[in-house]
């Protein structure tokens, strides 16, 4: 059969995934690749995305879906002779069937087929033709190429270039005819740095000091201070916890508590201690398998247990074992590889060079983990060294006390003799004793003791019945031992031992626990599940191994999670460092150099600055995977210090800010929105780590949870005012304020949060008791410390909330508000009292409720401003 027919037949049957509808919403500026790049066709940039999006679904890596035996994801495949016709003939577009098929007017022959919803436009067709004319060269996908170490280009513009990052940025900008923006003002810079590095606003004192410090080192000093702050680890943890899907509940069905605050604390400390990223990776994937594994590493290995689990009655254990495997593959490949390996659970990947075998082989690394398929998971006690040594010390006293209790002394001999004689007097002879119905003779046939702590056991009674002189040494020993069990002379020692054991038990019960990696004696067998069907056991068994396409290092005979970890952080692995520095970049600029942050595959967008990405990745690895170093490089660059306010022309030319002619600007993350309000009001509690906490939450929000039914009991005292990242993370009913600001439910890996802008957010900031209370307490502080006039107070409030003074316009608006509200509350005492006592934080008795209520309106307005909740 000729290939043309083959093509047609196969396409008629197969409906490709269609192109997104509705995607022509606005006009787009042209010339994104203007300048020197236009010289030639670049396979990775121009051709691969085209082929991937339009052709690979049927002519790509997935052998099962492949039509007409044609694959276009490899050069050999594209050039292959299929019954005398080749899709691609290098240098000869006119002889290439591919060109014929994309340009034909015949709907039956046209590629991609019309019913696929895909369509190539004239420019795309021209591009493909030009590529074939140029020789149809293929190139390795950018993300799988070894990381290069490019030399920063030479550029002109001394004042912008603060470090090597800027050379790459500026070269690209100037190539496109843009110039960078001016540096942002000092108070914007300190706010930006504070939010980016600690997730908290700067204090007014910090702002003043920084603005006043004109030394050239001022900026670097500030960066060092912020990187050294314990809140840096908290800020970084928020991001990491999204990636690894940390939560405090199981996730499925009853969604019971399954909290692991030790793991969260580990992450915070790891960032604060600047644990090298390769080590951070090893400890999480295989902390239990590292030589001399420590408590910290064991806690870190809890990463492998962060997946959702179920307790739902009637669930199939085998199905959930398969679900947990898939969950882990998706997460590991998302977190460290930015690879959508999850697509290969049911079939080979449509766009990237991965197979179902890769999926299950990667999953097999985790088949050694002990876990409960359906039911509560088993926690491991994890005492601190102090707790452990305390218990160990106490345990050493046990044999000492036991020795006392087990040693017969002359004094005890005497006491025993006295006891025995007393016993003898109290033993009454009994009438003959008959065996009972079962033929058993009652224990003490010779007589019955009357006043013993307990009736002597049969054996003792028998000994007592033997006259002293006739007793064997063994009998004497037994009797002495029996006596010691209740001897009054040993009473205090006995009690001491009981108390000691009780105490040890209590202490051990108070050991912190967590879910960690515990190994099975024999790992579970892992098979390729045909189409992901857990009931189908016909697939071949697989051993743990990394994806075949990504075997950059020698991975023969590697079968442990620690080997996987070594491979992940091998310097030959081109993905890990690129993926991580790209994400650190996004934390500082609002978007990655390559997008999206979790797909470096063919369907993702190649990096805007490939050389810069590689330079950063190489620097990261060459300097020991030092995260603080990379963060410092990023924030001390001229690119970072630019203003986020750009000229209309720049905005129009580059609405997404791909070329970095300005800084990014965005609404703060959910946790920061909360932390900021608490910090500004002065309520924020700052201890690091610890158990999850429960801020105010609407009553009844949990009413649809069951097995068992439960209530959210808000914390009181300091725990009510802790940072957002400590909020009890209920996967099925995440705290509604967090949810409103796009905190993810953490069911799967999230590398980049949505940043929506909704009426619910307005309702949260206006009416959630957390924010109402923060406004009230802020109002009290304004009245206590803000000065003598309303104007002074307003300036004071603005400085605390926005690190600046109000403009004349802002002043007018808010002074009008406070005046109008004061008038209102003067006439509504009850309302004033209610508003002035919002929340559980003790109200300031020295202040008049009417004044607090009026100023609370102003502080609410300030906390609701766009600027207050945004990072500029």
């Amino acid at each position: 059969m000729n290939p043309v027919m083959l093509f047609r037949m196969s396409f008629a049957r197969h409906i490709c995934l269609s192109c997104a509808a509705a995607l022509v919403l606005f006009a787009w500026p042209s010339g994104l690749f203007a300048g020197k790049d236009l010289g030639g066709v670049d396979f990775a940039r121009d051709i691969q995305p085209l082929l991937s999006d339009n052709c690979f679904a049927c002519h790509g890596p997935d052998a099962k879906q492949r039509k007409a035996d044609l694959r276009l994801d490899t050069r050999d495949g594209a050039l292959a002779d299929l019954d005398g016709v080749s899709a691609v003939v290098p240098g000869k577009p006119s002889e290439s069937e591919l060109v014929a098929r994309i340009t034909t007017d015949d709907e039956d022959d046209l590629m991609p087929p019309p019913d696929s919803g895909k369509q190539l436009d004239a420019a795309q067709k021209a591009l493909l033709q030009r590529w074939i004319a140029d020789g149809a060269e293929y190139d390795l996908h950018w993300a799988y190429k070894p990381v290069s170490r490019p030399t920063p280009p030479r550029v002109k513009n001394g004042s912008f270039v603060l470090n090597d990052i800027d050379r790459f940025v500026l070269a690209r900008l100037q190539g496109k005819g843009h110039e960078p923006s001016r540096e942002a003002d000092r108070r914007t810079l300190i706010r930006r740095l504070s939010f980016d590095l600690t997730g908290l606003p700067p204090t007014w004192e910090q702002v003043r000091a920084f603005v006043a410090d004109s030394s050239p080192r001022a900026f670097g000093k500030l960066v060092d201070q912020l990187l050294a702050s314990p809140h840096y680890g908290e800020r970084m943890a928020v991001y990491w916890l999204d990636l690894v899907r940390y939560a405090d509940t199981m996730g499925y069905h009853s969604d019971n508590k399954q909290t692991k605050p030790l793991y969260r604390e580990y992450v915070i400390n790891a960032f604060n201690d600047n644990l090298p990223f390769d080590q951070f990776t090893r400890e999480q994937l295989a902390g239990d398998q590292l030589p001399g594994s420590t408590r910290r590493q064991l806690i870190a290995s809890g990463y492998n247990r962060l997946n959702m689990t179920t307790r739902e009655g009637g669930s199939q254990p085998k199905e959930y074992i398969a679900i947990y495997l898939g969950d882990r593959v998706r997460n590991v490949s998302g977190v460290w590889m930015a690879t959508t390996l999850g697509c290969t659970e049911c079939h080979d990947h449509k766009f990237d060079p991965f197979t179902a075998r890769d999926f299950y082989s990667l999953g097999a690394f985790f088949s050694d983990l002990e876990e409960t398929p359906v039911g509560p998971q088993k926690y491991t006690p994890l005492p601190t060294p102090a707790q452990q040594s305390n218990v160990d010390k106490l345990k050493k006293q046990i044999p000492v006390l036991e020795a006392v209790l087990n040693t017969q002394t002359p004094a005890l001999d005497d006491a025993l003799a006295r006891w025995e004689s007393a016993q003898a007097e109290r033993i009454e002879p009994e009438p003959s004793v008959e065996a009972d119905a079962n033929g058993t003779v009652p224990a003490v046939s010779a007589g019955k003791p009357i006043a013993d702590p307990a009736a002597p056991p049969k054996k003792i009674g028998e000994i007592l019945a033997v006259p002293l002189a006739k007793r064997s040494a063994e009998q004497k020993k037994t009797l002495a031992a029996h006596y010691r069990t209740f001897a009054p002379e040993l009473a205090s020692t006995r009690k001491e031992l009981v108390d000691l054991k009780e105490r040890i038990k209590r202490l051990e019960k108070a050991f912190p626990t967590s879910l960690v990696s515990v190994r099975l004696g024999k790992p579970r067998t892992v098979r390729i599940l045909p189409r992901g069907n857990w009931q189908d056991e016909s697939g071949p068994e697989v051993q743990p191994t990394v994806p075949a396409r990504l075997k950059f290092a020698d991975t023969e005979s590697r079968t442990k999670r620690s080997d996987l970890a070594d491979w992940v952080v091998s310097k030959d692995n081109p993905l890990t460092a690129r993926v991580m520095v790209n994400r650190l970049w996004a934390l500082c600029f609002g978007r990655g150099l390559a997008m999206p942050l979790d797909d470096f595959g063919a369907q993702g967008t190649p990096p805007t600055h490939p050389e810069l990405l590689d330079w950063l990745a190489a620097d990261f690895m060459d300097h020991g995977w030092d995260i603080k170093r990379t963060m410092k490089l990023l924030v001390t660059s001229g690119a970072y210090r630019q203003s986020s306010i750009a000229a209309a022309k720049t905005l129009a030319a580059d609405p997404l800010n791909k070329w970095l002619a300005r800084q990014g600007r965005w609404r703060l993350d959910a946790e920061m929105v909360r932390d900021n309000a608490l910090a500004v009001s002065g309520l924020l509690a700052k201890p690091i780590g610890g158990a999850s906490v429960k801020p105010y939450q609407p009553v009844g929000y949990w009413k649809h949870l069951n097995f068992p039914k439960r209530k959210w009991a808000p914390d009181s005292g300091v725990s009510q005012y802790r940072r957002g990242l400590y909020t009890f993370w209920c996967r099925t009913f995440l705290h509604p304020s967090m949810l409103a600001f796009d905190a993810p439910t953490r069911e799967g890996c999230v590398a980049e949060r949505t940043r929506s802008n909704t009426p619910q957010q307005a309702l949260v900031l206006l009416n959630d008791p957390t924010y109402v209370e923060a406004s009230r307490v802020f109002a009290e502080r304004i009245l206590q410390h803000g000065g003598d006039t309303d104007g002074e107070r307003l300036a004071w409030a603005f400085e605390r909330a926005l690190s600046r003074e109000p403009s004349a316009g802002e002043r007018d608006i808010l002074l009008r508000l406070v005046k109008e509200r004061a008038g209102h509350f003067d006439e509504n005492a009850d309302a004033a009292k209610a508003a002035a006592t919002a929340g559980e934080w003790p109200p300031s008795m020295a202040l008049k409720p009417e004044r607090v209520a009026a100023w609370a309106a102003v502080s609410r307005a300030i906390l609701n401003l766009y600027e207050t909740t945004s990072r500029f």
């Binding site: 509808a21 420019a123 009655g313 959508t340 649809h704 509604p736 009426p759 509200r821 309106a857």
Partner: protein, 472 residues
Amino acid sequence: MNPEQFVTRLNRRSFLSNVSLGVGSLALGSMLDAGGLAKGPSLGVIDPLHFAPRAKRVIHLCMAGGPSHLETLDYKPKLAEMDGKPMPKSITAGQPIAQLQGNKELKCLGPQHEFQTFGQSGQSISSALPHIGGIADEICIIRSMTTQQINHDPAHTFMNTGALVSGRPSMGSWVTYGLGSEGSDLPGFVVLTSVGGAQDQPIASRQWHSGFLPSRFQGVHFHSTGDPVLYISNPKGVDAKGQGAVIDAVNSINRLRNKTVADPEIATRISQYEMAFRMQTSVPELTDTSSEPQHVFDLYGAKPGDGSFASNCMLARRLAERGTRFIQLYHRGWDHHGGVKNGVLTTAKHVDKASAALIRDLKDRGMLDDTLVIWGGEFGRTPMAQGSGRDHHMKGFSFWLAGGGIRGGISHGNTDDLGYHSVEDVVTVHDFHATMLHLLGVNHKKFTFKFQGLDFRLTGVEEAQILKTLLA
């Protein structure tokens, strides 16, 4: 188009592929919202629709817990004959079984309720559902539903998102994303949950999550106690005027700020504060049913403020009148592992009258023609006994649909004689989604969203059928 324009187009696409991923959504969100919410009804991304819609909105009466089709909509005389006898192994061999797994012998449990024929159409419906029987000529019964998940939580997820992996958008989010909302003062996708019902299986908010779609398409959960919408009430001591004054100040200052910054996000924020303030009026107005005449309460069997399914049906009609696109009602209490006979009766008492009332009320108001009503659970129940009850079952169960382009008085598909396997005109969840979208004027194959490099759609990658025989 020259190569530059081509690349531009490519990048436009990749930009839009970022819509759910943050930075992109800023700009897109702003453009949609600033135009939409500020000026009135917002349209969705499908404009124009792929074809003329038969339904403008959807009301999904979700019978959570898994109603027994064998006691509600699917009568099996053969099963009655087999009552107490062993279930043929040929039917159950190799089938996944939930709580009955490990049972040595599976026995048939005959239908626990009589069935009657109702209406001109003579539809066969359980005597436990006489009111639904009363609208037999309006409804189309599907007796050949199937799903892929045998437990509540994942089965709801599959029914709502068409995917087994959690984290995908729910159908309500898809529909609202695609069609937008007609009302400007209320959310486009509303979820109502009712009190009452015994076996309270938990129901997770992931069932109305927007997944990778922009999060403003998430379902807004209306609560039957406390604030109907979370944080809708003013703080204590703050009246409407005071709240308005604060919002005015916020918006005025944001406007000033926008003069120097020129950020579409600020414009959106301003309109969202206006929307929030309007919602603070429109939501209480919606939930205050005091203007409804007594005969309407009687029709539904509702009492003001009781949080019942009946009250929620009435609320659903009020939401429909106000332009809400997708309304989902969850009523739990169908998980009858034991005592299926009385259990079905009890739960039927909560839902039967009100479900029928909703159809009648919509019809009276001329709204049934463009409102698609869906009635059904996440799965059905086994023909085999679990004591006096039935276990979860995914190979065959029943739904009914009404209104919005649905042909009334008919049935579609059948299960086998014992009600185990769907055997005739088998309907998958994806078929059901495809048909629902079709009625809304949407070609399910063309309605996609790019995420992680893939064009995702509600109906997944497998073929999905439009159930043409159901269409009026």
